[in-house]
Amino acid sequence: MITFWRVFKSGFRNTFRNAWLSSAATVIMAVTLLIMTFFAFSIIFVRSQLNEVQKKIDLTVFISDEAGEAQIKELQNKLLQVDGVESVQFVSKADALKRLEDSSEEGKKLAKSATDIGNPLPSSLEVKLAKLDDIGGVNKRIRDLPEAVIITETSFDSRDDNRKGVIENVIKISNGVTRVGAVLSVVFLLIALMIIFNTIRMAIFTRREEIEIMKLVGATKWFVRGPFIVEGSMYGVFGATIATITLVPIGRVAGQFLTDKFNAGSTVAYFGTNFWLIVLCMYGLGILIGALSSWLAISRHLKL
């Protein structure tokens, strides 16, 4: 225990002996941790947005006012059997009016006028799809049903194939962000490893006389190596501290922006509630990167 404390103290002291190298190692560590956190956030954000979009996009089948309740029920059952359909929900004329009313101030006014003229809104069946790319195919299969005579129009008819394109783009962006994030994270991880490796190598070189004396007076292998591992881990601790301090204001601004513009409240809230976990992860990762590069440097350059 006493040896562990002495090793720790010695490593801590050594970190400050070569201030320039230590600063470079600390800064690159902070940048690496920030980049990794940023991409982790981006990936989760884009994925959650994609989920939101997917939830919103389904096929709405509008029903003619003349259709009877039994006919609608029958169509609903048939729709469920159509390949690619996950679920079907009936929205009556009254429900549609209610939704319009609740949607916004503008909607409220519109709903009021609609009520005045006897609710012209059609009832509808909302079809949730198993797979988004198949929206055109599902639409066609629905249209081909004999029960489809009561359908006046579908949401797919009126907007062509536009949404499919949008969805495909969102998927592409999501995959792109994941890939770019992974590549950049790995690149910066390697840069951090290399820089800390070299910092420790320089430290071993400048302290070779001290190392020789330590060996002569009978220091064990770990008494010589330990301080370098501590030094490497220190870069992780300082780097994570800088990254955390930087992250707080950026997180605040970005969080507000994303909540306002992208309706990403849940993702932002997720990061908010797990803030300390993220900080803990950064410290853990920083210490891991630092200790690992130190370990590599001493096993290569510190022959005992």
């Binding site: 006493i2 040896t3 002495r6 006389e209 001290e210 020789e212 004396i213 330590m214 060996k215 002569l216 007076v217 009978g218 220091a219 064990t220 292998k221 008494f223």
Partner: protein
């Protein structure tokens, strides 16, 4: 105490540093090893602190057979043998006191024990007044005494002094030799290597002469002859 049995050291470049050297040093002896530069004195010392391994032959120090000691135990071996060098090998950024306590710290000695042992040993070598000076602030002789204090602080059975007076003027050289004699009187085996004829002749102690890697002379009361 120290036994070398037909020890040979041949370097990868085929240089023969020691060739079948045998010697036996008894506990509490004061032995001087002399020889021209390159005769093999330094190799001998590096063998004793296990910085080097012989190409052939046997080395036994105390009850430790150097063939059987594993790597992890080398630090423990070195703690039992104090070594002093011509160039002192002090850490410049530590004070006299810290340089000495450092040797105890690396072996896991408790702080209370360090606080007790270091002042005592500094008093023995006459450096109590300079305890908080840095090596750059003291004389060559004082630096060597610091190195001796560091070597002695762990109560080794053997003290090896590799040309300890090489960088010192005659007055300081004699101070160091007298200190080594004092340490020897307390019961520590001292192995001294030196080029200083005057010192060797005046000591009237056992002298082992090495030439071209061989022990060529071993006299109970020897003189410096090459």
């Amino acid at each position: 105490m120290i036994l070398l049995d037909r020890v040979t050291v041949i370097y990868p470049n085929k240089t023969v540093a020691l060739s079948g050297a045998s010697l036996h040093i008894q506990p509490k002896e004061f032995v001087t090893i002399v020889g021209a530069s390159g005769a093999g004195k330094s190799t001998l010392i590096r063998l004793l602190i296990k910085e080097e391994v012989p190409t052939s032959g046997k080395i036994i120090v105390g009850s430790i057979d150097y063939d059987t000691i594993d790597k992890a135990n080398i630090p423990h071996l070195r703690r039992k043998i104090g070594v002093v060098f011509q160039d002192f090998k002090l850490l410049p950024n530590l004070t006299v006191y810290e340089n000495v306590s450092f040797a105890l710290e690396v072996s896991g000695v408790k702080n209370a024990e360090i606080k007790r042992a270091v002042p005592k040993i500094l008093q023995l070598v006459g450096l109590s007044e300079k305890a908080h000076h840095y090596p750059s602030e003291i004389s060559g002789g004082e630096r060597q005494r610091t190195a001796i204090a560091r070597a002695l602080v762990r109560n080794p059975k053997i003290l090896i002094a590799d040309e300890p007076t090489g960088n010192l003027d005659p007055k300081n050289s004699w101070d160091i030799i007298e200190l080594l004699l004092k340490i020897n009187r307390f019961g520590t085996t001292v192995v001294l290597t030196t080029h200083n004829k005057e010192i060797v002749d005046a000591l009237k102690k056992r002298v082992i002469t090495i030439n071209r890697g061989r022990v060529v002379k071993d006299e109970k009361v020897g003189k410096y002859t090459l």
